[in-house]
Amino acid sequence: MEDIGGVRAILPGQSNVDELVRELRRQPRWQIRRVREYITGRDPGPKADGYRAVHVVVERDGCFIEIQLRTPWQDRWAQSVEQDTRRLRHGLKFGVGPAELREYFRVVAEYLELRERNEEPQEELLKELSKLFAATRRYYADG
């Protein structure tokens, strides 16, 4: 654990996140120590649980700060996982918990990514989402 501080910003879209990362690379005050793009097609790509964001670790005066940059849907997904981790006490955020719920969140993240890009999800993905939605009703109050 090298980051001792953390900052989070929610930006309107992925292009805004990318622009901010470029700005961070250009500015001279903080040294960029690491950039991890948990984004489809980038390095290292989404986390296995579906988490999407860009994390930049900067160093200033010997302190490491992790800057988490998310789009609104990426954030909403992460906050929902966070909420369910507390509510269900399953350790969902840490990659443990019921397999169907973890798989549900992974597929939801994929679905939301397409939704945010205004792309139509394939029928296969919708079927999978629908199946997992049905399988996870017991975890939600009105299910």
Binding site: Q79, E82, R86, R89, L112, L129, S130
Partner: protein, 91 residues
């Protein structure tokens, strides 16, 4: 936002009922840290309470960047999926 503009908030979150008490300390970091340490000591070992000290330019921003402590269930992605699948006749 500079460090001097940062406001500090102590969040005491009760997991069972999903309720967050938010204590604002404005720019007084020392007082916020003291209150945090006291709350931490009070709730140590209590799995039902989470104590977090957060900084932000306003409570409004905090409610966005750490919405899992504040938001009601309609903001949960499951609600979005439920609505979308219902519209498609898949739920």
């Amino acid at each position: 936002m500079s460090e001097s503009e940062l406001q500090h908030f102590l969040v005491i979150y009760r997991i069972a009922d999903g309720h967050a008490d938010v204590l604002p300390f404005a720019h007084d970091y020392k007082a916020a840290l003291l209150a945090y340490n006291e709350a931490e000591a009070e709730h140590r070992g209590d799995d039902d309470v989470e104590v977090v000290l957060l900084g932000s330019d306003s409570l409004e921003t905090l409610e966005r960047t750490h919405s899992s402590y504040f938001e009601l269930s309609e903001k949960h992605v499951d609600q979005v999926v439920a609505r979308d699948l219902a519209e498609l006749g898949l739920a």
